[in-house]
Symmetry: none
Subunit: 145 residues, 2 copies
């Protein structure tokens, strides 16, 4: 059932107009319209529409009367954007999202199963170094892989 399944690591560039080309391999699965939002660990999450619907469903169940919930929803949704790529397969990343993820010229685009992530190059390289060491440890704690 669960639709998309992205994998891979791509190094692309953010041009002067704030655009990045999405990896060709991801385009078909993403479809003509999708969502870019603030993600955990200061990267951006890119969701195909179906995945986004599910996230929205969850958010709707949250009562507006809880202050934490209101704030979370506000922050999360105001930091999201509906994107559609141009003829060359590029999307514009809005300024606020670029700031959030600290994106400079070079960015990594990662396939992470049901979503895609966009990272600043150096930030991902650092993170990755850390992960390499922990990898086997993590594998055990996460699941019985």
């Amino acid at each position: 059932m669960s639709g998309a399944s992205f994998v891979g690591e791509y190094l692309h560039t953010l041009d002067a107009k704030g655009r990045v080309a999405l990896p060709a391999k991801f385009r078909e699965t993403l479809g003509p319209k999708f969502i870019i939002a603030r993600g955990l660990d200061k990267c951006l999450f890119v969701y195909p529409n179906e995945e986004w619907e599910q996230v929205m469903e969850k958010l709707k169940t949250i009562p507006i009367s809880s202050k934490d919930a209101r704030h979370f929803t506000r922050y999360f949704l105001s930091g999201a954007t509906e994107a559609e790529p141009d003829k060359q397969g590029r999307v514009v990343i809005p300024q606020n999202l670029r700031d959030y993820a600290g994106l400079n010229k070079d960015v990594f685009i990662l396939g992470v199963g049901s979503r895609i992530e966009i990272w600043d190059k150096s930030k991902w390289e650092e993170t990755k170094l850390g992960l390499e060491e922990e990898f086997s440890v993590l594998a055990e704690s996460v699941a019985g892989i």
Copy 2:
């Protein structure tokens, strides 16, 4: 099905006449007429008509016998305005609402799912700073994203 779904963050200006341009992306969904009301956390809520109907439905279910409820309803509804944008897509924000939200020249307009919010620039920036730190914590507790 579930109607509107606003996302994004836009920095616009309130001009000398008390007008703001609504983001072009929101206009179609909002339609030609909509409601602006006092919102929670000292910002303004903007609802498309359908969403407003639902809010009204909820209010009706509140027992009039509760004093808190009466006060809330009174305050909430008396501060609401029906707005329709001019040819340029701008709406006038009445003085009482401007006061309530402490709006100055620069305002942020946020898409928050079923509604839009209007914030004074500096107030939202402060609020947002606090939220950035809590984001990962809230993400876990609120939704299993």
